[in-house]
């Protein structure tokens, strides 16, 4: 690989510096060197990528994914998950600690870091557990986890049911300034529910999960964040009521951030009508009204980021009766294509979408790890190049992820990642993209 690269003739959008220009971007030594309408001083042996008609932006940053390693390597590994992420335009991904063993101590975090260094094609940042073994009973050694390099703490997959433990976790996290990222679900209320509670659950004869199962815990967490002054991050919010709760908490000065997934933004509960286990996800796909509220929350800043919650499972695990199929959607490779629907439908501006995938998650992660989500001069050359108008049909056989579990198989999407550059190196490139070299 050449040490320098020039991306020519593209529309460069970088929300971190309010940039939206047509021009060239020059990378040297793995860093952003220059953005200009027409870069004149091109180093010799420079790789040239003509990106006419494409959008160039900071590499996407995902704050919520499941790489399944260690423990569930049949579903995904750090190698396959990071490759899938690169194909989806991601250059930084944060992996959740619900592995086996759970990421609740330094040794497990070191394992993630070491394996990532060897096998991941992009940056993998681990999230540590809030409680030991994700059991919700005793706090994990957060100090050790912080020193080991976790970017947040989460027992994702479960809620800490005991409010006293949750309060203490928030209090204790203040020492390290790490956000506590909570999967908000009142499990007594969701009670083995399968899909959104409502008429579709009635039609299919499946147990419903009421909105309140999510909203009750968000309300509790807001109360506790207010009480302790700690940072709370709400995972995958899915209901209109949740958006309203977070909106009010922000007005109230609570240190709260929130994420939403591409599937909750673009698919509603109708997707499960044919008992499609690939559309079974937790929280469940909700209604069109909830989707409208999520979009408005994204626009007014109530929802800070889009996180993918990439949750791969094997075909066999999903090929079963609906009630015993695991929750989760494999999301990296369809994320941009799904989200671009919001732009094409004029629900949101493209710069807002990019911001929610780059500058905003980078802000939550903080600058401790490196300058992420920006094309500022000197920053790591983490770059995503995509064609906003390219139409394609999802074929899970082409997935790099081991998880083919998406309800979008055979669906047409508009918007396709053409190349992903990490630290100046091309880690993914569509077949149609040709690289030239300046003599």
């Amino acid at each position: 690989m050449n040490k320098s690269m020039l991306i020519k003739n593209s529309r460069i959008i970088d929300p971190s510096q309010d940039l939206d220009v047509i021009g060239d971007l020059l990378i040297t030594d793995g860093k952003i060197k220059e953005i200009a309408p027409d870069v004149k001083k091109i180093p010799t042996d420079c790789t040239i990528l003509d990106a006419k008609g494409m959008i160039v932006c900071p590499g996407f940053v995902d704050f919520h994914c499941h790489l399944r390693q260690p423990g569930f390597e049949e579903k995904e590994t750090i190698a396959t998950g990071s490759k899938a992420a690169a194909k989806g335009g991601f250059t930084t991904i944060c992996c959740m600690p619900n592995t086996d063993p759970a990421l609740d101590n330094k040794a497990t975090i070191d394992f993630i870091k070491a394996t990532s260094a060897l096998e991941a094609c992009i940056r993998v940042l681990p999230i540590g557990c809030i409680t030991k073994g994700r059991k919700g009973l005793e706090l994990a050694d957060m100090g050790e986890l912080a020193e080991a390099g976790v970017v947040a703490l989460s027992d994702d997959g479960s809620t800490i049911a005991d409010s006293r433990i949750m309060k203490q976790a928030l209090e204790y996290s203040l020492i390290f300034g790490l956000p506590i990222s909570d999967h908000c679900e009142d499990a007594m209320l969701s009670n083995g529910g399968q899909i959104n509670e409502g008429i579709i659950a009635t039609r299919l004869g499946l147990r419903g999960i009421p909105n309140a199962a999510e909203e009750n815990v968000i309300a509790r967490d807001i109360g506790l964040a207010k009480l302790t002054g700690a940072r709370i991050h709400i995972c995958h919010i899915s209901t209109e009521g949740s958006v309203e709760l977070v909106r009010n908490a922000k007005k109230d000065g609570v240190r709260i951030t929130a994420e939403v997934t591409p599937h909750h933004l673009t698919m509603d509960e109708e997707m499960v009508l044919d008992f499609d286990t690939n559309a079974k996800v937790n929280p469940p796909l909700r209604t069109k009204k909830d989707i409208a509220a999520l979009i408005s929350g994204l626009k007014d800043g109530t929802i800070d980021i889009i996180a993918i919650d990439h949750a791969p499972h094997t075909d066999n695990e999903k090929l079963c009766e609906f009630a015993i199929a695991p929750f989760g959607i494999s999301g990296f490779e369809t994320a941009l294509g799904s989200l671009m629907k919001l732009v094409h439908n004029r629900d949101i501006e493209i710069s807002l979408l990019i911001s929610k995938l780059t500058a905003m998650p980078a802000k939550i992660i903080g600058s401790k790890f490196s300058k992420l989500g920006t094309l500022k001069q000197g920053a790591a050359a983490d770059i995503t190049i995509f064609d906003p108008d390219a139409e394609w049909t999802v074929d899970t056989k082409d997935f790099y992820s081991k998880g083919k579990n998406t309800p979008l198989n055979c669906h047409k999407l508009k918007g396709r990642v053409m190349a992903t550059i990490f630290n100046g190196k091309v880690v993914y490139k569509d077949k149609s993209v040709k690289l030239g070299v300046k003599a």
Partner: protein, 335 residues
């Protein structure tokens, strides 16, 4: 009966089913949501012909000779299973019964694997009962045999709803504008769900009545996903003027899960009693899919009273299932 006088005669003397029924489109019977009114009509007419066979001294015709029916039950059942078994035998099918404990479902024994085995054994029709909603839908996508849903979770029980309708037709002129009230644990009842589909398709006015914890969700604005019916927690209002009152079996564990304060309170508030029934139409019939918890959801005097058609439902069940076997076999004969 004159009430079903419009039923056309279907000639069953032929050894092979006739492809006369062009309206019949189904390879599987999973639920009644995708049945057209004319298909339901056809089932009713065919059932009438089968009913006639059942009144003969020798209740056997060669229609399904050489066909293999396998029953695959993941839940205990006496009535439904023997009803299917008798129906298949009356049509001269070979029948094999498979019982799988429902605990094996969660032990990683794949439903698909089991079905593939059954298919390798040469099954033409698989009759399936399963504790999980949608299991027959899954099955239908992975085997070549026809699947008949004999009850799945809280989802559907189409053959029960069809036999219920046939029983109603035996007593009433038409389903159109018939006032049918279903009382009991609606939310967990596949019988209620399938009845709501078939009855509303044929123009009945359906009312469902239950304590609010046992009413299905989303019923204030159900369309296009589910039919519109009257919903009430007031049993007297529900029964008033009804032509048909249908009770449902109450699973006694509903109390433990906090959906009901006590079985005693349920009986007091929602039992179908003679007194409550006196407000219904004079010619009301009382139905129940069985087995009945006597004096819980229905007073024993009502269950055994002169308005009860509960035993007729059982007899009609055999005829309906014969009709469905016949129609499915005819469909596959056409291919």
């Amino acid at each position: 009966m004159e009430a079903v006088g419009q039923i056309k005669a279907i000639d069953l003397k032929d050894e092979k089913p006739q492809p006369a029924q062009k309206i019949w489109k189904h390879k599987h019977i999973l639920d009644l949501d995708d049945f057209s009114p004319s298909e339901i009509d056809l089932v009713m007419q065919t059932t009438e012909a089968m009913h006639e066979i059942l009144s003969r001294p020798i209740k056997k015709v060669p229609t399904l000779r050489g066909k293999t029916v396998v029953t695959l039950f993941y839940e205990a059942s006496t009535r439904t299973r023997s009803s299917f078994e008798l129906a298949a035998k009356n049509l001269s099918a070979d029948i094999s019964n498979l019982t799988v404990s429902s605990s094996s479902v969660t032990k990683g024994e794949s439903l698909i694997d089991t079905l593939e085995t059954i298919e390798a054994l040469g099954a033409d029709i698989v009759v399936m009962r399963h504790p999980y909603s949608g299991a027959p839908n899954l099955a239908s996508k992975h085997v070549k045999a026809s699947i008949i849903n004999a009850g799945d979770g809280w989802h559907a029980h189409p053959t029960q709803a069809l036999l219920d309708m046939y029983t109603m037709l035996k007593h009433k002129n038409s389903i159109k504008n018939l006032k049918v009230t279903i009382i009991g644990d609606i939310i967990h009842s596949r019988v209620a769900h399938s009845n709501i589909w078939s009855l509303t398709k044929m123009g009945a006015e359906v009312t469902i009545c239950a304590p609010s914890t046992l009413l299905p969700k989303g019923m204030d604005n159900p369309q296009p996903y589910f039919p519109k019916v009257n919903v009430t927690t007031d049993i007297d209002k529900a029964i008033k003027g009804a032509d048909v009152v249908m009770g449902l079996r109450l699973q006694l564990e509903r109390q433990q899960s906090g959906l009901l304060p006590s079985i005693r309170e349920y009986s007091r508030l929602y039992q179908i009693t003679e007194e409550r029934l006196s407000k219904a139409d004079n010619d009301v019939i009382v139905m129940h899919p069985g087995p009945v918890n006597e004096d819980v959801e229905i007073a024993s005097t009502v269950a055994h009273g002169d308005k009860s058609v509960i035993n007729e439902q059982v007899t009609n069940g055999v005829a309906v299932r014969m009709a469905l076997f016949y129609l499915l076999a005819g469909g596959s004969h056409n291919e």
